[in-house]
Symmetry: C2
Subunit: 274 residues, 2 copies
């Protein structure tokens, strides 16, 4: 088995590439998996994108993203749920069984964290039948607590595990991204607890000083996350699926895509695998 067998390029790492260019870039570099984004897929065309990945022999590790469930009114929450249903359709069409969920922050003007958390859980539960029908898992991605207000009221692996266990459906899983969970003193115990639910693992790094909350992630090895320790914990828990490199970083995003892919392959082997 190639050392790169589990490697996936999340498309956000090379924002200059269209779906076609990203798929070609992966094929050229021997990266067997790709993580796609809905807006880029829409720009390329859904059917065309599906054909491109199929023809290139690249596999789709996940579609980003659904979620953003909390909203002030029941009608608006239903709009979000309907949009997530379409995202599940798109995931099935594009050939992946993982829809990544960024669950959403507080509704505009609200401070009710507990209420927003109930909206997230209710939204996910409402989508289970459609997810099952499509054969796609709803993958809760706990986000770093610094995003609690505006992007995800689900901020810990513990909370994501709680939700997955309460809903208790094979259509609900979770994605572990090192950037969001590395600081947690209970992270290894929670990775173990997540074993039945883990459907994705994302790598990147935390650099100091952080250039930007959202677009300041580092290339693996440039920061302080114990990547190998976390990868080993995920492996020990039995996860054997793709490992996505997802780096939102304006400086890296400005580099030629092939150079970024060459570097991340090298760092993946040196910093994540070994």
């Amino acid at each position: 088995v190639s050392a790169l067998a589990r490697l996936s390029l999340n498309q956000a790492t090379v924002p200059s590439w269209t779906v076609r260019e990203a798929v070609d870039g992966c094929a050229r570099a021997g990266v067997p998996w790709i993580g796609l984004w809905r807006d880029r897929v829409a720009a390329q065309g859904l059917v065309e994108s599906a054909r491109l990945v199929r023809d290139a022999g690249v596999r789709v590790s996940s579609l980003c993203r659904g979620g953003f469930f909390p909203a002030p009114s029941a009608a608006e929450r239903q709009v979000r749920i309907d949009d997530n249903a379409r995202a599940l359709d798109e995931a099935a069409e594009i050939g992946t069984d993982v829809l990544v969920l960024v669950c959403g922050g507080l509704p505009e003007g609200s401070r009710d964290l507990a209420g927003a958390r109930r909206m997230v859980e209710d939204g996910i539960a409402a989508l289970v039948p459609h997810a099952a029908a499509r054969g796609v898992r709803l993958a809760i991605e706990p986000l770093h607590p610094m995003f609690a207000a505006d992007r995800s009221v689900v901020t810990t692996l513990t909370h994501a595990n709680d939700i997955a266990e309460r809903i208790a459906s094979p259509s609900v899983g979770l994605v572990i991204d090192v950037y969001h969970v590395w600081w947690d003193p209970t992270v290894e115990a929670q990775i173990e607890r997540a074993a039945p639910h883990t459907v994705g693992f994302h790598v990147n790094d935390w650099i100091v000083p952080l250039p930007d909350l959202l677009r300041g992630r580092g290339m693996m090895g440039d920061g302080c996350i114990e990547l190998r320790r976390l990868r080993e914990a995920v492996d020990r828990a039995g996860y054997a699926g793709p490992i996505e490199v997802e780096i939102f970083n304006d400086a890296i995003g400005a580099l030629p895509g092939d150079d970024v892919v060459a570097l991340l392959k090298e760092r993946y082997v040196a910093e994540v695998l070994s």
Copy 2:
């Protein structure tokens, strides 16, 4: 009892004021408590600062700050411990029994979170006899997880409670700052658990978008933290001590001190108490 009986101005909220000016400002505004910083106290003179607060009838809620225990070598760690011992002396001299600890991040070049966490706990434990002799509590302040790398490997109230319970000394307590813990789904349970150890409560707010990790805190009421809910949880746990307003914010810091104090008094009553 005045509505302001528990209100404390943390000096960092009005960075333009010397210790003398801050003490005068509190006295003028009827703010009965003040939280002081070591560097400002040193600039004013320790003995002089102690005299100023005594003469003004203002009480010192805490001295900021000790901590920063992790370091690459045992010799350097001892330097940090010695500095904390001096901070305990200063706290006793200035008339407060609370030394706030910002525990410190990863040692330069290290990724060993567990190791850094041991250094923190060992450092605090080493200081217990001196803290007891001075009658000053070492108050662990868990910091927001976004500071895990560079400021505090203690990022949750759960972890601070774990340390306080393991050391199990009346000289070790913890400080709860809403900015650092508001996102935590277990925060109310951990506030209750912290009841025997809580020696301080800090208020401010989380604004979106966050202007800056370190210097982008909001005035109470301008953000999304459920301040009253957290204050009530701290009260229910039996904490009846001062409530410090600690806002690191360049825009607020640039306003005239008296205006800031007038505003925070109003917001304290409207957003924290009622």
